[in-house]
Symmetry: C2
Subunit: 162 residues, 2 copies
DNA sequence: TTTCGATGGTTACAAATGAAACCAATTTGG
DNA sequence: CCAAATTGGTTTCATTTGTAACCATCGAAA
């Protein structure tokens, strides 16, 4: 029978690597400040851009709006950010880091950079460039709607449901 | 102040890409059979190797033992696999796909392969090779204990807890 | 042997996630 | 102008996940 070699299956390899790296990196924000990934990304987004709306945050950091919503709520609870209602459109809120939020951000940036440098140091210049290029290619490709080439009908047959 | 550009931050890019790819690929096993990722990996592991123990499965597919345990329980419930107690060590169970399990596996393998081919087709030969090489480098590096270079003390200060 | 630390695997509980419903406020199209 | 569709954002509920505790069973040491 036709067999799939999981270890070399690209989606699996990608996921596994990203998971390992991300897990390790999470120490930077989790151990020290008890942040979740969505919270860290929110902090990072605002630290980088100054002021953003929840929607913008979601776009920039690839998070579902519920994640953004919850992360923003938590950072607000910590008083790391404040919301300012938009003048023209009262559905929108502009989010900005407080002094405390900026302090936390400023503290984490060097750690993040050091982590990245350390990670990249595992690769030669050439490999690194290649990796980046490869990532970019797949990224742009996957934006254009990654196609799942299936011909089979969708069916969750009886007894297969959980 | 020192700023981090999230979009080009390697851990973020990796994660984001893996997430997008994995999400798209999940159609193959989720839409059609309602499997979760751990369930799919378990199926894939057994399909590839014939018979494995839970521990082996966890190692091969990088899953925590609780994930394996739950995935195995669900596949058993579906009668896609059976457990056989080990003769020598009664803690151990050998897992094998049933006919039904094999059928599901056999059905998904070509879809998985097609997905991968489609994905890789976005890259030139060279880029692909480079990407693989880059992944391998970081992988092997991250196995050797990815170091988080922090000097700061670990503290989850009062008021920062959730 | 008996005891004690590892190991294979499951379970309980809390936290994180995703999907869908929801509530405004806004825009669009008659 | 007004109804309907859209959009920004929150909330609810069901799943999924992670952590730690747990229950055997096993292996090594005394």
């Amino acid at each position: 029978m036709d067999v799939l070699e999981l270890e070399s299956f690209l989606p699996y390899r990608l996921y596994r690597l990203a998971d390992a790296v991300s897990r390790e990196f999470s120490r930077v924000y989790k151990d020290r400040h008890g942040l979740t990934r969505p919270e860290w990304r929110t902090l990072a987004g605002l630290g980088q851009h100054g002021t953003m709306t929840a929607t913008e945050l979601g776009e920039q950091s690839a998070m579902h709006k519920t994640k953004v919503s919850r992360a923003v709520a938590e950072l607000e609870r910590r008083r790391w950010l404040t919301r300012t209602p938009d003048e023209k459109d009262r559905r929108v809120e502009h989010l900005t880091l407080t002094r405390a939020g900026l302090a936390a951000y400023g503290e984490m940036v060097p750690l993040a950079k050091a982590f990245e440098v350390n990670l990249m140091s595992k690769l030669t210049e050439g490999d690194m460039a290649a990796l980046i290029k490869g990532l970019a290619s797949i990224e742009s490709a996957s934006k254009q709607k990654l196609q799942t080439p299936t011909t089979l009908p969708t069916l969750v047959a009886a007894g297969e449901k959980k």
